[in-house]
Subunit: 259 residues, 4 copies
């Protein structure tokens, strides 16, 4: 089974890169499943229904969110009926939507799970225990399980990979918008990367215009952080999984520039 | 000019990897300058004088520190007389030691500058203004300037690279212990990478044993975080600089496993 | 029913103040129950078994802890067998000890519950949902329920008081070591105070010697924060409760200086 | 000299309480100077010019701001020309406005200084060194100096009081919206209180409606935090200062409910 996991899509440049590259890849590269983190897909903020739909049309099977899940208030209602959009499973019980999904692919069923970290982030329920719950046999009978761990701290992300080694085919970090180079299949068969990276404008600070970000760091006066312009980059990983065992065979980093 | 910048050295495994690889590289690869972040070189904690000396003997020209600068109390006194050890320049004026150094290399003088970030870290003076101060002509007449930006947040690290583009040959991020894949020479001639990575035990969480870290994340009961055992990795970047202009020509990631 | 709730006891000066005042008050003031936060009772750090015992002997019925619960490693084992010491109930399930207690007093049974906040503090389970669990009829049949909410942020502490109004006789904030002046019985019958204050050396910064704390704020160089000397203060609240209804009738601040 | 220092004014209820009480107090109570923290005066957010003017008309001589200084973008320009509005002096040099003011009162000149803390708050320059700068003889020749220290952590606020003891007549904490009961004149003659409290709706969480705050704490779904309704409270301190020496003689807490 071939899975493409796409890093945080930022604004129109990110969506455009996704729309340009993914349909062709779906056709030519034998992808069984495309998961994309969409928490910044709307002008750098969390998406509403129509932007999510545009990404589904371009080839996403599942969209994950993160700390920006509710930036667009329409999403709060929309997520109840759109099971292909996941918010972190370890948000509190009162949060709308759900954090995991069983989806059928040409090579068999897959469970996708979204989790959010707590170190240097807002409070949420324990992501480790939430993973235990979501991945236990009864709830996730699909052998192949893929986790988006949306987190800031490298320690927490690496710990999650180790914690789930042997229980998930992949633990893909998101949120920092910078692709790390530590992709690797752990001994138990779990493919890990601390951060998949970003899909958005390349000459930017995490997708935002450089100047206002610098101004903010230096003067602390609030700025409007517009999405940057110019060439975009799509960052992702491709994971090859043995669907019979649910173990990853390979993880490969992808970075494609679209001008 | 060829510069090797080595990511956070963690404990004995990290020191051993450094000692095994760097002397040979100095001899065979035409390195003019070796800078290493040593903030975790002593059992995962900040080093004292003797461990620092061992790294100098193995080929380091300059050692940088970070938030673990004063883990070993002897360093507080030692740093006053050892100018080759830098603590972040934007620590407060009352802090011992200094944050920049002019050093002569076979290919000419270089200014090395250590800075620390503030996002998700303790309070310190503004690293951007500290960079302005340290890099202004009068204080840093060397054309080649290399910056260690020890910081957590990708936004702050990328912003610093952009802020210093054209004023430094390189801005190398440290602290997260995970090497990023975004190395790049910016338009003004500054080589940047969000994080150089770690030099230490590979099967670990940031150099520490996996089990106690997991136990801590799950139960919150304090654990002893020992340095992990087994094969070590040295992560670094090699930067090629035109000493006539102080502009970087290339930056290349290095990851070498030592078993 | 008369309940005395004593703010964070700090070091020997705090213990001495407690030992000097509380036995007499128990005798003369008709106290049914004495609860004290003991998280800093040992040299400013969390107590071990013998220091806890000294406080029980001096008249405490229940001791609560907080973020310093495991400073003394012996407490990790001891708390399993000492049900009168509570750690926050919203620590993760894997944590030793327990967070609530049913205790008999001369005026009837009381449930005491310890909770810890999350704003500006480490991650823990949701204190609001933990309160729901612990206070539901089945688990806490005692009509009188008293909560120690060990938290930093005024918003979270006031919110908890409002959340539990009508379900607890008192929600007493601890942790900041500064007594607030907002004690009050809310409309539902819950006595609240944002922080009960500290029992420890008065000329200090939260019980610690002033000079090293200033030095740390100014230079950021680590200091030894000794417990301060000189006159001590005991800060507490006295809560009068109608045991028939479990509603508070009054809450009164106490500050007594012991030289 | 008699100084009234009023805690964070929140929204219309807070402004109304101020307008009802302060003009009369100015007339009847011999006040020489009225300072008020206005950082939440506009619907709970930082004020613009017209709301600031309304408070000046009602009797404020100086308004201080805090972390909400730039909530209203008009303030960014306005503060350049309105010297009676202070933003924290330890904001970075590029920030608009200024952090201290020399003002003449019927009993002589006073220097007012605004500072902001760093513990559990955004990054800023060191407030201790900023105080040194602002209060040195050359810049603050007025004998009477009054400091608003807008900070979260009790440790940082108490440390500032001790640091400035003998150099300021008063160090008044603001920001937490809960009045503490630790008002006191330190040995060097500096009147201190950890937090002056809030001027705004009493049945609220820090001035905001209770229900949405609870909803946010429990579900983490963003809510609109409207200013609460109902009776308001004005919290303040009155400081009596010997203008010949610049030492405080007394500090008295004030809480007045306006229905
Ligand atoms: Fe993102
Ligand atoms: Fe995010
Ligand atoms: Fe570090
Ligand atoms: Fe490090
Ligand atoms: Fe505490
Ligand atoms: Fe405490
Ligand atoms: Fe504030
Ligand atoms: Fe405020």
């Amino acid at each position: 089974m071939e899975v493409l996991f796409v890093g945080d899509i930022v604004g129109r440049p990110g969506r455009t890169a996704f729309q340009r590259l993914v349909p062709e890849w779906r056709r030519d590269r034998g992808l069984d499943l495309v998961i994309a983190n969409a928490e910044n897909a709307a002008g750098g903020r969390g998406p509403g229904p129509s932007i999510a739909d545009a990404l589904f049309e371009a080839g996403a099977d599942v969209l994950t969110l993160g700390d920006h899940a509710w930036d667009d208030r329409e999403m709060i209602a929309h997520i109840a009926s759109e099971r292909r959009i996941l918010r972190p499973a370890n948000m509190p019980p009162g949060a709308p939507g759900r954090g995991d999904l069983r989806i059928d692919t040409p090579s068999g069923p897959v469970t996708v799970l979204s989790l959010i970290g707590r170190t240097f982030m807002g409070p949420n329920d324990c992501p480790f225990r939430a993973a235990d719950d979501a991945l236990k046999e009864a709830r996730a009978p699909a052998r192949v399980r893929i986790v988006d761990f949306h987190a800031e701290a490298t320690s927490e992300k690496i710990a999650m990979g180790r914690y789930l080694d042997g229980r998930a085919a992949a633990v893909c970090g998101t949120h920092t918008h910078v692709q790390t180079s530590d992709e690797r299949v752990l001994p138990g068969g779990t493919a890990c990367i601390t951060d998949v990276g970003m899909t958005g404008p390349r000459n930017s600070v995490l997708g935002r215009e450089i100047e206002p970000v610098l101004e903010k760091f230096i003067t602390h006066v609030p700025q409007r952080f517009g999405v940057a312009k110019g060439e975009a980059v799509l960052e992702a990983v491709r994971i090859t999984i043995d669907q019979a065992t649910g173990r990853a065979e390979a993880i490969e980093r992808i970075r494609e520039i679209v001008s």
